[in-house]
Symmetry: C2
DNA sequence: AATTGATTTAGAATGATTTTAAAGTAATGT
DNA sequence: ACATTACTTTAAAATCATTCTAAATCAATT
């Protein structure tokens, strides 16, 4: 858990102005467990905590944090962009019913062989998505 | 290339009424190379061919074809649902600049080790997405 | 404290997709 | 063939996530 001064510092390091809203949003994202959020889900959580931040601001925050390298954008499936506080290269289980994402421990996956890239291209990132559903 | 009777047969087998519109849409999708389409891109192609089918009908077609197992839904990235006529288990290169998808030959990828699934869940599908960008 | 430039915000706009409800068409029984 | 029924198509409205706009606010700098 980070205090406001620490969060302020973190934002400054990322060249983001530590505004009231950004500090609050950052406090929900950083400093504890890695989490996955969408703008909508985060905004909802904020409202539940009795705070009032415009949805557009949440979008702005998430995108700024992403640009600054504080968040990873996760391949959305149900039209909803998810952001991941876990920046390291990793894969996901995707619950196809709920859209919920769960990190896969990198150590439990190994990709033995990869195709060669199209000419003139380089890899930006690589992600394995295992779509799962409740056993029928 | 399939003729209309063959396409009609294909639709009937999938328990879909072989209507004029579906036959036309199916003729663009099946019978030659595997392709990736969005509702919008397919509708555009149809208009270019001088035909007139409502965009909503294209959406309906694609979803019906998908439900019937004739198309695979591909993890969209730029908000656009892509459908793939290649039903077999396979992976994609994703051009992050354009959203364009390219199939990866399955033989060139091998995943050596996989994590165990969460309890009570089963795998629906699994997809490796290699996001690529023009070499900088 | 005043200026400047970035940020926040409500609300409008956008773009993909879905829904609605009416009109059209295919399949089925007669 | 003909009527009935059920499914399809369609334009237009609705919806949902997201982005834009323009005015108000705020943080950093002079």
């Amino acid at each position: 858990m980070l205090n406001n001064a620490e969060i302020s510092e973190l934002l400054k390091k990322a060249r983001l102005r530590p505004t009231r809203q950004r500090i609050f949003v950052a406090s929900l994202l950083f400093g504890s467990e890695h989490i996955h959020v969408s703008a909508e889900s985060l905004h909802h959580k904020i409202k539940q905590l009795g705070q009032k931040i415009a949805l557009a601001t949440v979008y702005n925050c998430l995108h700024h944090f992403h640009k600054a390298g504080l968040l990873k954008k996760v391949n959305a499936v149900n039209d909803v962009i998810m952001f991941d506080t876990n920046l390291s290269y990793h894969h996901h289980f995707l619950n196809v019913d709920t859209g919920e994402l769960t990190d896969i421990d990198e150590a439990t996956v190994s990709i033995a062989e990869l195709p060669k890239l199209p000419d003139g291209f380089e890899t930006e990132s690589m992600e394995l998505t295992i779509r799962v559903k409740p056993q029928s």
